[in-house]
Amino acid sequence: MLVYTAKRLVLALLVAFTISVLSFSLLFLAGDPAAAIAGETATDQEIERIRTMFGFDRPIWLQYLEWVSRAIQGDFGRSYYFGMPVTELILSRIPVTLTLAGSAMAFALVVGIPMGVIAALYPNSIIDRIALTIAVCGQALPSFWFALMLIVLFGFMIPILPPSGSDSWQHFILPTIVLGYYATPSLMRLTRTGMLEVLSADYIRTARAKGLFPRTVLFKHALRNAVIPVVSVAAVEFGFMLGGSIVIETVFALHGTGYLAWESIRRADFPTVQALILVFSLFYVVLTFVSDLLNAWLDPRIRVA
């Protein structure tokens, strides 16, 4: 287990390093950051002044080293637009995004796992087909459009929920449904496949033959084993949800990191954008690292491979 953990850790660190290089150099690959900050009407002299002011005239590797060594200490520089430290800015916005992603994940698990179990218990029944239809439709539903439809329906036609903002818990209901619905199909399908596989295993037949309650067999023997892959996929889905939060938070005007990302991109606020790309990616790296370890702990065969 220790060797496996060490291997995974080295890999995670390497990935983190590569991403830090990528998210930093993205700005320079894509064009001239000084010109982008100065705007379209700026003269060459103004652009030159901005270049020296922000230090863009120095070699890229030097700028990277400076940026990354500060970033490790939690200093991402100052936001051009807000004029405050980027770290502070992100920290003030992150609770909203984590609340949203967390409740969306809970929603997806609460809907997806029972649906997957029922679909596996009665394969090809009406319930299975409905579950499959929901899954297929979920993949095809553009999240921002679904969000707008819910806003029209529950914000205005049947006004029971606030259409936008992030002041109270009611504001999180619609975004949670939209973001959660997106992750539900994959969790449901995984539960269904896992359950179908486990239910045909010998130890389930043995448990049934022993005369255990069907409930006990289902929950204690079958589901426990079937949800192992779901746990690791859920961790990865959580990472994707942070990315998806950009669209959802923009539609619902939830002031989280996703909304911050959109604002900063539109305002060419580079330090914030760089920091957000790195933070979002690191979230994913940490989540996959944890889920790898969790999997290895649950299933000892993985550790050897």
Binding site: V15, V136, P142, F240, V247
Partner: protein, 301 residues
Amino acid sequence: MAVTSTTIPTMDAIVGPSPGQRLRKRVFGHRGVMIGGIILLVMVLMALFAPLIAPHDPYTQSLANRLVPPVWHETGSWTHPLGTDQLGRDYLSRVIYGVRISLFIGISVAFVSAIIGSAMGLAAGYFGGRVDLVVTFLITCRLSMPVILVALAVVALIGSSLTVVVSVLGLLLWDRFAVVMRSATMQVRALDYVASARAAGCSNARIVFSEILPNVMNPLIVVATLEIANAVLLEAALSFLGLGVQPPLPSWGLMISEGKDYLLFDPWLITIPGLMLFVLLLAINLMGDGMRDVTAPENRN
């Protein structure tokens, strides 16, 4: 002398249907593939013959006819079956021309990313060892970066246009191709005909292109189909956020974005392009999922 007649079984009855016939039977017997295929065919025809079908020019503005409601409304008329938008442009024509953008972006992005991803997957699966390590590492890095955020940032920096959106998405969406092609290549590589090709002295390039590639085509086509849907969805989201295709192009995502200021009183402005997106994505996904069932029935659950 009595002659007993015996029926001579035909060759067909002995051998049964050919693999091609059996595949065709599975394709035509699969409901998902058929429904998805028919919808997709209609969409492709709409895109190809847009100038002939569309009743008006999708770009002609008419300030006198702004926000005319669709025909099923009391005040609607057949002149503009789906009404007009905030600039008085015929909505039906814009919706029809919108298929072109979605399909163009979907197919070209899938094409670009298929080339990148397949090359990486084939190399990793065929050579294994260090090549595989590097490719797997690249896939992990790519998966860690949130597509939407990176795409938004890059598009904002370079300036948004159709070409930029296609190249950025194409450079980002290769991960699934690489993953699937890698494992498919690993499976095929272990088969006897690859070993015999190698024994016959074939070069690596020849083995990869004439022995392995044809035999990993099925999963490649399935992934390509599903990636088209993914690209269509992402383009719509980027355009909706104002950093994809630029006005006045009739991209469905952009139309939803332009219509969202009127969502209270003229909800059809966002309902119609959204429904079109939904139907198109549903059709592509049904095709993709169905083709996976048809080409690899053993993987069906």
